[in-house]
């Protein structure tokens, strides 16, 4: 499997193996992933924008299906096969024709128009959706806000790997909570002045509530097995949910993050 998408802990290698294996009808352990060295792999665009699974994953699925169809069309493979039969079919194909490769190139879904020169149009055929619910308590002596419970209901098209998908949502929500309450980037003369873990405060294991994740699946026809992107979405919802909960608790409308105790005190005094 050759693609430029980079494994940075989000699970690309695992889900690409699963997607390719499903399309081929083999075991994920039998899929090998090349390092994303651009002298070896095709340019599949950057590993950003929640596009790896939905866009590149779909290309992996199509390319893997291409291998299977090629073997079936050549008469080396039947519709149903064992691991050994698949290996024999591949070997026979390579012995007969020299090599067995399948490449898939992205084309926008029908109706989607994007101008790469002017950067206008719709880059994405679809988006994930989510509902976030935060329960908070506000200490009226110190004005500290704490999230006591958090529920994320996530619509992702199709969950490819439940453990990894849950981890993506939990991690994003944790970053979102940090963004909402703690993480204050202070700029002075063009530089971040609190660029140390000592003075840039992010959540520790003591600062987060239980993050409860639920999935809703509405398959997207142009994603692998119906999957959409999920990387960024859980970053977006937590702060609004938390600030609505703070408004509910205190009556003040919070419009700026992070909501540090100092800022909440100013809002309460205003």
């Amino acid at each position: 499997m050759l693609a430029a998408s980079t494994e940075i802990g989000q699970g690309t290698n695992t889900i690409f193996s699963q997607i390719a294996a499903d399309a081929l009808g083999i075991d994920p352990d039998d899929v090998e992933i090349a390092q994303p060295d651009t002298s070896v792999v095709p340019d599949s665009g950057p590993t950003v924008a929640s596009r790896t699974c939905m866009v590149v994953g779909k290309l992996v699925e199509s390319a893997a299906a291409g291998i299977r169809h090629t073997l079936v069309d050549a008469g080396f493979l039947t519709a149903v096969f064992t691991r050994a039969e698949f290996q024999i079919a591949c070997r026979r194909y390579v012995e007969t024709f020299g090599s067995l490769r399948s490449t898939s190139q992205y084309t926008p879904p029908p109706g989607l128009v994007w101008d790469d020169d002017k950067y206008l149009g719709d880059a994405y055929g679809t988006y994930g959706w989510a509902v976030y619910v935060a329960e908070v308590s506000v200490d009226t002596a110190t004005w500290e806000t704490r999230v006591d419970d958090f529920v994320a209901l996530q619509e992702v098209g199709k969950v490819i790997n439940p453990t990894l998908a849950t981890g993506q949502i939990e991690g994003g929500v944790a970053q979102g909570i940090g963004w909402a309450l703690y993480e204050d980037v202070v700029w002075r003369e063009g530089r971040m002045v609190n660029s140390q873990m000592t003075n840039y405060i992010m959540p520790t294991s003591m600062d987060l509530p239980g993050i409860r994740v639920y999935f809703e699946e509405t398959p997207y026809p142009y994603g692998p097995a119906g999957a959409k992107g999920i990387g960024e979405l859980p970053m977006d919802g937590p702060a609004p949910a938390i600030f609505n909960a703070v408004a509910n608790a205190t009556g003040v409308n919070v419009t700026r993050l992070p909501l540090t105790p100092e800022r909440l005190m100013d809002l309460m005094d205003a």
Partner: protein, 152 residues
């Protein structure tokens, strides 16, 4: 300065300036599983066990390790068999980018040695000195609970 230590069960000498960071000396000795995160004792990525206690090796001078037993992440697995904590992290999604993972595994190791059957609060407290940016900690808590179950 030559410092006699036991590193992952093997007695040996570590060479360096007495005030050299144990982190750098360990990495120079080949134990590159110990990661430098913040370098100022906040993140726990460089955590190792000194006589069984979790310390940040970026804040530990080499001289301090004289005569002590050091366990790095390389000393947790036996030969090619993962420790129960490591396999639990794999199964439960406890690692994403992996920079915090060596320190997290050692923090869990120390916790489970003290509390073989930890509560979630005990896990949260034990891991409070180890920052993770990717997971939101939930899969890590699950990994530690699973490791405790495996070890019982």
């Amino acid at each position: 300065m030559r410092v006699a230590v036991t590193l992952n069960g093997r007695p040996l000498w570590l060479d360096g300036h007495p005030m050299a960071r144990l982190l750098d000396v360990l990495r120079a000795s080949g134990m590159t599983g110990t990661k430098e995160g913040c370098g100022e004792g906040e993140c726990g990525a460089c955590a190792v066990l000194l006589d069984g206690r979790l310390v940040n090796s970026c804040l530990t001078p080499l001289a301090h390790a004289e005569g002590m037993s050091i366990t790095t992440i390389e000393g947790v697995a036996t030969e090619s068999t993962l420790h129960a904590i490591q396999s639990a992290f794999l199964e439960c999604g406890g690692a994403q980018c992996g920079i915090c993972t060596p320190g997290m595994v050692l923090a869990a190791y120390e916790l489970l040695w003290r509390h073989p059957d930890p509560t979630e609060d005990q896990i949260r407290i034990a891991l409070a000195g180890n920052l993770c940016r990717c997971t939101g900690y939930m899969r890590i808590f699950a990994s530690v609970l699973e490791a405790a179950r495996k070890l019982r």
